[in-house]
């Protein structure tokens, strides 16, 4: 079921078009990687989803219903710029944020205690937020986002500033939430983490959607039948322009871009004739490469 549906939304600030005819869809129990360079319009889009600002045109629907303020209680939002009341006790702050989402004080407290345990911070419950380290505050912010069990969770750079252990912890929780049926919109610059946990991605640049779909499909689309080869012997065929358009020797292996009309299969055949092949693979482009390719040279 579609939890979030964005249809052709646009937003202008003066002469600048921040978001241009953007459409996307987040399903129940999925994680959508919302990617894009700085200033691409990610935050503006998220703010429109949160009804903090209104789109100039287009429509946003949540849980199959047209946008209205009552629906926001079922959304959890962790902005990129963290915001916590530093002079409040951790537990009071969590209860406050949950109450703002319509939870009663007692269940809010119960959930807060449970989440503090899950995030390995139970002993910090009665401490003031300002006494916590930055990473701990980050985890508190995450707890505040998911405490009220929102059907849609929007995370803007949730891992920034976290050490690898805590990154793993949060990533596991995200996957857990996904399995429970929560939909997650995961906005990030970190392509490797997006690659690991997202089945679908949406890449935007200058307010426009430039890539959208299941990650595997996008990778196939960008898989320019490059070949990685590790071998013993002298590979004289690499100089044959009729077969090899370009190659990069990385020491451990050679990355080959076949000439036009030559398949990876044909490269392998030539290699096997000359060399003892140890390893052969059709190189899948990393999300990082795709990102750079799409954003740097459109």
């Amino acid at each position: 079921m579609s939890v979030l549906n964005i249809a052709n939304i646009s937003k202008q600030f003066g002469h600048i078009t921040a978001v241009d005819q953007l459409s996307l869809d987040v399903e129940e129990g999925t994680i959508l990687g919302f990617l894009g360079p700085n200033g691409a319009g990610k935050t503006t889009t998220i703010r429109m989803i949160m009804q903090i600002i209104m789109p100039d045109s287009g429509a946003i629907s949540l849980f199959g219903q047209p946008h209205h303020p009552g629906l926001l209680d079922q959304v959890g939002y962790m902005p990129e710029e963290r915001g916590l009341y530093k002079n409040m006790r951790v537990i009071d702050l969590l209860v406050f944020f949950a109450e703002m989402k319509g939870l009663g004080a007692a269940p809010a407290r119960r959930e807060a205690v449970q989440w503090l345990g899950r995030l390995e911070l139970p002993e910090w419950q009665d401490k003031k937020v300002e006494d916590l380290s930055k990473g701990m505050q980050q985890k508190i912010q995450f707890a505040a986002t998911v405490l009220h069990q929102p059907r849609l969770i929007i995370l803007d750079e949730p891992f920034s500033g976290l050490d690898p252990v805590n990154t793993m912890l949060l990533k596991d929780i995200m996957l857990e939430l996904k399995k429970k049926g929560h939909a997650i919109l995961f906005s990030t610059h970190q392509m490797d983490s997006a690659e690991k946990i997202c089945e679908t991605i949406c890449l935007i640049d200058q307010g426009k959607r430039v890539l959208y779909g299941p990650l595997t499909e996008i990778k196939r689309q960008f898989g320019s039948n490059r070949v990685r080869l590790r071998y013993d012997g002298k590979a004289s065929f690499l100089a044959d322009k009729a077969i090899v358009a370009k190659f990069d020797d990385y020491g451990q292996y050679v990355e080959i871009t076949p000439a036009a009309g030559i398949s990876a299969q044909q490269i392998l055949e030539r290699a096997v004739q000359q060399l003892s092949v140890q390893h052969f693979e059709i190189a899948d482009p990393s999300l990082n490469e795709i990102f750079i390719k799409v954003v740097a040279n459109p």
Binding site: M50, Q51, I52, Y77, P79, G83, F97, M100, G102
Partner: protein, 427 residues
């Protein structure tokens, strides 16, 4: 509504628990007591302060009566306050005497010396030498005494009987009565004035203080980026309402505590002071009508809302308290202007100027309240001022909420006036 309530609750609880609240609540009554009783205490202390004054009388006619006048001023207080030493140097010893007196003033053995010239009745001038010439009250007292004595002497010289002159030139004192709801009652003019002034001052402090709290609260939420989280759960209007109502509730709490102090002080204050110094019983303590408290509360609440909306808008436009300093000036000026108008208004509290300016909503809390305590505001004026304030605040919320909505999401430089107008169009 429930969200506004949650916001109010957080604002109230976190603020009540701060040390600042505790100290502010406790220190304010102490401060007020000091302001109220300081003049009294001052009077007590200066009573022991005897002034030594020397007189060189070249006219030969004034020294003795001056001595008599300053010793017997009717109330019998002056006798203990001034010690007069009369010098009558001849021409040869003149310079020497002045030198001596100068040295005595320098050594603080003498507070001042007077030189009364021979031609005082023509020149209308005498010399007053003292270490500080800026004590205007003291100068005026000496002047008055000399004038009085000179007048008496002049009259006597013109042939009037000394007793008659004394009778004619007797000082006439005013006994002050305040006309309130229960008719006229005797009351010290100064004490009643002091009470009015204290209440007005309290209003002034409260409006600025709590307004600033609202502004800082908004700026804090903005710079700590909590605002964005709040906005994901509530709209800008709810956030603004929660902030203003929460801080307003803190203000009211503090006020009820202060009012309790004030009520206790007005009930038992006199007894307490008398216990310390029985001689003080002569002062007629001003009685504070219940309506003063009621209107004080009404004008505090209305004034707070009016100014808090402005302060909230200012807070939303800036990113730090320092930036807020410059932008809040127009708002502070409004309150300050009301204070500046207090004296002209008090001089003629029923005049057209006073009526008109006290009906302007930004000045109403302070000036209409002041006119009420001076018994110059009619019921119609009071009700009209309250209505005008409510309508103005209502309209103002509509405008400031727009600025607030855009402002809380804007980071970076302070907006210009043009940008502000654009913000209002955006939302």
């Amino acid at each position: 509504m429930r969200k506004i309530w949650t916001l109010i609750k957080r604002e109230y609880v976190t603020r009540i628990h701060t040390k600042g609240f505790l100290w502010g609540t406790l220190l304010m009554p102490v401060f007020i007591l000091l302001v109220t009783f300081f003049p009294l205490l001052l009077g007590e202390f200066t009573g022991d302060d005897v002034k030594n004054i020397a007189i060189i009388d070249r006219s030969g006619a004034l020294a003795a009566p001056l001595h008599e006048a300053m010793q017997n001023d009717g109330e019998g207080k002056e006798a203990t306050r001034y010690h007069l030493h009369i010098h009558t140097p001849d021409a040869a010893a003149w310079t020497e005497t002045v030198q001596l007196l100068d040295n005595q003033v320098k050594d603080k053995k003498l507070d001042a010396y007077l030189i009364i010239p021979e031609d005082i009745f023509e020149s209308n001038q005498f010399e007053l030498h003292c270490s500080t010439v800026s004590n205007l009250l003291f100068n005026r007292r000496i002047e008055n005494a000399v004038t009085q004595v000179a007048t008496t002497t002049r009259l006597q010289r013109s042939g009037l009987d000394a007793e008659l002159v004394k009778k004619f030139s007797a000082r006439i004192n005013a006994k002050t009565y305040k006309v309130g709801e229960q008719g006229s009652r005797e009351e010290s003019g100064f004490a009643s004035y002091a009470v009015n002034y204290i209440f007005m001052f309290l209003l002034y402090i409260a409006l600025i203080l709590y307004g600033t709290f609202v502004m800082q609260g908004v700026t804090e939420d903005k710079s700590s980026r909590v605002m964005e989280i709040l906005l994901s759960s509530a709209n800008a209007r709810q956030i603004m309402a929660g902030k203003i109502l929460g801080i307003g509730a803190v203000g009211l709490t503090q006020f009820f505590i202060w009012m309790l102090f004030a009520a206790l002080a007005s009930m038992y204050g006199l007894a307490m002071v008398q216990a310390i110094d029985p001689g003080i019983s002569k002062i007629a303590m001003p009685t504070i009508s219940i309506w003063v408290y009621v209107l004080f509360l009404v004008y505090f609440i209305l004034g707070f809302f009016l100014y808090a909306t402005l302060y909230a808008a200012v807070g939303s436009m800036v990113n730090s308290d320092r930036e807020a300093q410059s932008l809040q000036w127009p708002v502070v000026m409004l309150i300050l202007f009301a204070m500046l108008c207090a004296f002209p208004v008090l001089q003629n509290p029923s005049g057209t100027f006073a009526i008109v300016i006290s009906l302007l909503p930004f000045f109403t809390p302070i000036l209409m309240f002041l006119r009420f305590t001076a018994n110059a505001a009619t019921t119609v004026e009071l009700l009209a001022s309250i209505l005008i304030m409510i309508l103005t605040t209502w309209g103002l919320i509509w405008v400031t909420a727009k600025i607030f909505r855009v402002g809380i999401l804007m980071y970076g430089k302070k907006p210009t006036l043009q940008e502000l107008l654009k913000w209002m169009k955006y939302s």
